[in-house]
């Protein structure tokens, strides 16, 4: 048995036939489509305008069962899992003992003593290390469970053709078991786009028929297979963090300044007060008292300022056609006060936006800063304003 090479997802027979430019991206040991068409603009438009079908199988997925499954998760994550209702999904980060974020993902309560945890990095060892003496069975289901994300304004209508009201009536961040065309799945009203959308979890063996079913049912609604490039733009608009891009896992950081607390990632709202002890709690309570040196905010680049820099060299404004993820200095009063970690031109908002780590003193919404931009090989600074994220937050996301 050879283990050479990368994994393909159970949808590969379908996706490979559609990727016109052989543009694949590596994600957690798998290859998935960067974009299906040669440019990703229409895929992005599907997320915001119709419906996009995205293969998100590479997410790490763990099944936890047993009387202590809630207690185990509660011990690890910052949110209060004991208050997670049946069929509820929690987005949450988790921390090391110093209160620095190691990963983020979702916790779904599938039954009283049955949860699914998704994560960006592997966490099997971390779960076991924290489960000492607990009655819980931990199972890595990453390789057995496939996942599709159906995102966009038409997502609900497409599902309505396939499932009953138990699915179409799902509220934001809720989960339900369902049968779609006879295929047993779990549907969660979640996604990585900040739009109306669902994630559908299915056993590998039924992955291909599920893809075919959704594509066929979605065709009249303009469903488009969508790759990671389009999703990346959408998640920046939604102000959603990407590990390894927007923050470094405390587990992988080589030096202290690379680490961030949840407060420093704009995730203070996920740090539950008064819950049972969890990893990092003491450090986080102290930080809540003391305040954090860093904040994570949105930046909107001032159009006139950007255009003027291009005009100076005789060029029309040139905008990034895909989301960038190169750490870029942010200045305040002439000094560097932070760094942006991702940014893009928002085709919907018609704004150049970025996500940035800022020293707290420069993080108040409305603060004027400057973002470094490279224009004709020269480093310039464009005016930008600090804003709260998300940049884009449609009512339909929660409605």
């Amino acid at each position: 048995m050879t283990t050479n090479g990368l994994r393909t997802t159970p949808f590969h027979s379908r996706t490979a036939a559609l990727v016109r430019g052989q543009t694949w991206r590596r994600w957690a040991g798998y290859v998935v489509a960067s974009s299906y068409d040669l440019v990703h603009d229409l895929e992005y438009a599907a997320i915001r305008g119709t419906a996009a079908l995205i293969d998100v199988t590479p997410l790490f997925k763990y099944r936890l069962r047993g009387p202590d499954s809630a207690a185990l998760l509660d011990r690890i994550v910052t949110r209060d899992v004991t208050r997670c209702a049946l069929g509820q999904v929690l987005y949450t980060p988790w921390c090391d003992p110093e209160g620095k974020v190691v990963d983020d993902g979702t916790v779904t309560r599938l039954a009283d003593h049955h949860f699914r945890l998704t994560s960006a990095h592997p966490n099997l060892r971390w779960l076991h290390q924290n489960a000492v003496g607990m009655q819980v069975e931990i199972e890595d289901e990453t390789a057995e469970t496939a996942a599709l994300s159906l995102q966009g304004p038409s997502a609900r209508e497409i599902l309505a053709r396939l499932a009953d009201t138990e699915v179409t009536g799902l509220r934001f961040f809720r989960a339900a078991p369902a049968r779609l065309g006879g295929i047993p799945v779990t549907v969660t009203r979640t996604g990585y786009t900040g739009d109306l959308g669902y994630e559908i979890w299915v056993a590998n063996e039924r992955a291909e028929p599920l893809w075919d079913l959704l594509m066929a049912t979605g065709a009249p609604f303009g469903i488009l297979p969508t790759g990671l490039l389009a999703m990346d733009v959408a998640r920046i608009e939604a102000g959603l963090l990407l590990i390894d891009v927007d923050y470094v896992s405390a587990r992988r950081a080589l030096i202290e300044p690379q680490k961030s607390s949840p407060f420093e990632l704009n995730l203070g709202w996920t740090v539950a007060r008064g819950k049972s002890p969890f990893v990092g709690q003491r450090a986080l309570e102290a930080e809540r008292e003391r305040g954090s040196p860093w904040a994570f905010r949105g930046l909107v680049v001032d159009w006139d300022s950007l255009e003027a820099l291009f005009t100076e060299v005789g060029l029309p404004p040139q905008l990034p056609t895909t989301a960038w993820r190169v750490s870029t200095p942010v200045y305040g009063n002439g000094q560097q006060v932070g760094y942006a970690t991702s940014g893009c031109w928002s085709p919907l908002l018609k704004k150049y936006v970025a996500l940035a780590h800022l020293e707290s003193s420069h993080s108040e919404p409305g603060t004027e800063v400057a973002l470094e931009v490279t224009i004709e090989h020269r480093r310039k600074r464009a005016r930008a304003t600090v804003v709260k994220t998300p940049f884009f937050d449609p009512d339909r996301k929660r409605a």
Binding site: T2, N4, R7, A28, G29, P122, L124, R125, R251
Partner: protein, 531 residues
């Protein structure tokens, strides 16, 4: 008659450290002469055409510890050094399975996951910790170790700097470092991993070149020592030198010559000339006398202190310490000329796994048993083997379609019961082939020629005492300010103008060159500029 030529420095031994030292001295403007006993340069870092058309890195067979600052300072790539990465590891197991690691972390993760899902997670975290530990140790590698018992300003200053460095490490890392300094590699790895195959594969690098088993305390440090290899700024990167390890020595020699150093081969030094407590030159076996302001010995501490000079010229304490310095060579080598590559039952064919390091180290028990044999004076009945096939990456090492295989073998105790002779050497060679054939049955019929090297042979050919490949064991009691002796870890000796630059000095073994570089600095600091 022409008056005898006066050199600034004479370097005894054209091993890689002697050459590095000479290159740095010549670069500083010194008139330097290197004296090598053998007809070829490199010491234990040589490439030789042992059989017609088959070229072998006869002794040292991989490169990684060579200090990057030396590569930069001497522009070794400009002098022909070309290191090809050794990207994978492949350990066949007795149950027909195998354990591999690959250049790509995801691919490695997937392979480890097969053996233990938890170890797959732990592996990355372990790698990260070892990287931080290597960063923690790195500053020590490039300074002369301070003597903690000394009040000399230089020692105090360096101690102060190191103390601050370690204080800045943070609690977690400091604790990890102390563990690495005190534990056995098996125990340390046991804290991280559950898969026997992985623990064994990792603990093997904790025993290389030592007369210790994976369960002996102190081996965790050797593990770290092998993590300090750095190529292109990446820790834990190993490679082959194109042209074999001798090409490393040749590139250093070429750099030294370009700075004006002279190098003589077939020039065996009998003694260092000492007058009024000061080294004045050397006398060769031929009787020729050469004079210089400084003499640097690249030989091991035993030869440097007990053979090249009259021990009577040294403090009694130092003589005793050197007499007690442990060599105890524990490894041998088998070099094979092959008609075809090995075909492993666990992973048949000529896959990429053959281009990396291949090891026979299936379990910690296996390694410990191999050590047990050696403890009682026998070579291991089933030894640890560390194998590379350079011809798969550098075809010029063998005739077209043929291959050379280098097998590092442990344990082969220098102090074997009954000593080493032709018969025991061949029996040792047979044991190695028998061991390998259990995993790659075609090996026997593929062998065209074989060269078997015992620790006694290593000593006879290279001059390394007791065949110890590190010029003295890499044990904590023989490292840092204790290498080779307290008070004399700064590359000087009690004889003025007499210096030491071999890997028996700090920072020690492996084709690292750090000792040669630090010794050159000591010479330049004490003897001043060119004459």
């Amino acid at each position: 008659m022409k008056p005898p030529q006066i050199w600034d420095d004479l370097v005894i031994g054209g091993g890689h450290n002697g050459l590095v030292c000479a290159a740095y001295l010549a670069r500083a403007g010194h008139k330097v002469l290197v004296l090598e006993r053998r007809p070829i340069l490199g010491g234990a870092a040589v490439t030789e055409e042992v059989f017609p058309g088959f070229r072998f890195s006869v002794f040292s067979y991989v490169v990684s510890l060579l200090r990057p600052e030396i590569i930069r300072d001497l522009d070794l790539p400009g002098h022909g050094l070309n290191i090809v990465p050794l990207e994978s590891t492949f350990n066949p197991l007795p149950d027909g399975d195998y354990l591999a690691t690959w250049a790509d972390p995801e691919e490695t993760r997937r392979e480890l996951y097969r053996h233990s899902p938890r170890d797959a997670d732990a592996y990355q975290e372990f790698g990260r910790l070892m990287q931080r530990m290597a960063m923690a140790i790195k500053p020590i590698l490039s300074v002369s170790p301070p003597d903690p018992a000394s009040w000399r300003p230089r020692d105090l200053l360096t101690m102060g700097r190191l103390a601050k460095h370690f204080r800045d490490l943070g609690e977690q890392d400091l604790h990890a470092l102390v563990k690495l300094m005190t534990m056995s590699s098996a125990d340390y790895l046991g804290e991280w991993f559950e898969s026997e195959a992985l623990k064994a594969a990792k603990s093997a690098s904790g025993i290389i070149g030592t007369f210790l088993g994976p369960r002996s305390p102190g081996t965790a440090y050797v593990l770290l020592h092998h993590y300090m290899g750095e190529i292109d700024g990446v820790f834990r990167a190993w490679g082959f030198a194109r042209g074999g390890t001798g090409a490393v020595s040749e590139s250093i020699a070429s750099a030294a010559r370009s700075f004006g150093a002279e190098i003589r081969t077939d020039a065996s030094v009998r003694r260092v000339l000492v007058k009024d407590g000061r080294a004045t030159g050397v006398v060769l076996e031929s009787g020729e006398e050469l004079h210089a302001r400084a003499v640097v010995s690249g030989l091991d501490p035993r030869r440097t202190f007990l053979e090249l000079v009259e021990p009577g010229q040294l403090p009694e304490e130092l003589v005793q310490t050197v007499e007690r310095f442990r060599f105890r060579g524990s490894s041998g080598k088998v070099n094979l000329a092959l008609s075809e590559p090995p075909n492993f039952t666990a992973l048949p064919g000529d896959g990429p796994h053959l281009k990396g390091a291949i090891a026979i180290a299936p379990s910690v028990d296996y390694l410990e048993r191999a050590y047990d044999d050696a403890k009682y004076g026998e070579f291991s009945r089933r030894p640890f083997l560390d194998i590379v096939i350079p011809s798969l990456i550098d075809p010029a090492m063998a005739p077209p379609g043929k291959h050379v295989m280098s097998i590092f073998v442990q344990y082969a105790p220098y102090h074997r019961n009954g000593g080493w002779d032709d018969r025991s050497r061949e029996a040792f060679g047979d044991t190695v082939i028998d061991t390998l054939a259990e995993y790659a049955p075609n090996i026997r019929s593929a062998i065209l020629y074989r060269q078997v090297i015992t620790p006694a042979d290593i000593e006879a050919v290279t001059g390394l005492s007791e065949g110890n490949i590190f010029q003295g064991e890499l044990a904590l009691s023989q490292l840092f300010f204790l290498r080779p002796a307290p008070g004399w870890a700064d590359h000087t000796t009690p004889i003025h103008g007499y210096y030491q630059c071999g890997s028996g000095t700090h920072p020690g073994g492996g084709v690292m060159g750090g000792s040669g570089r630090l010794a050159a600095r000591a010479v330049l600091a004490n003897e001043g500029g060119a004459s």
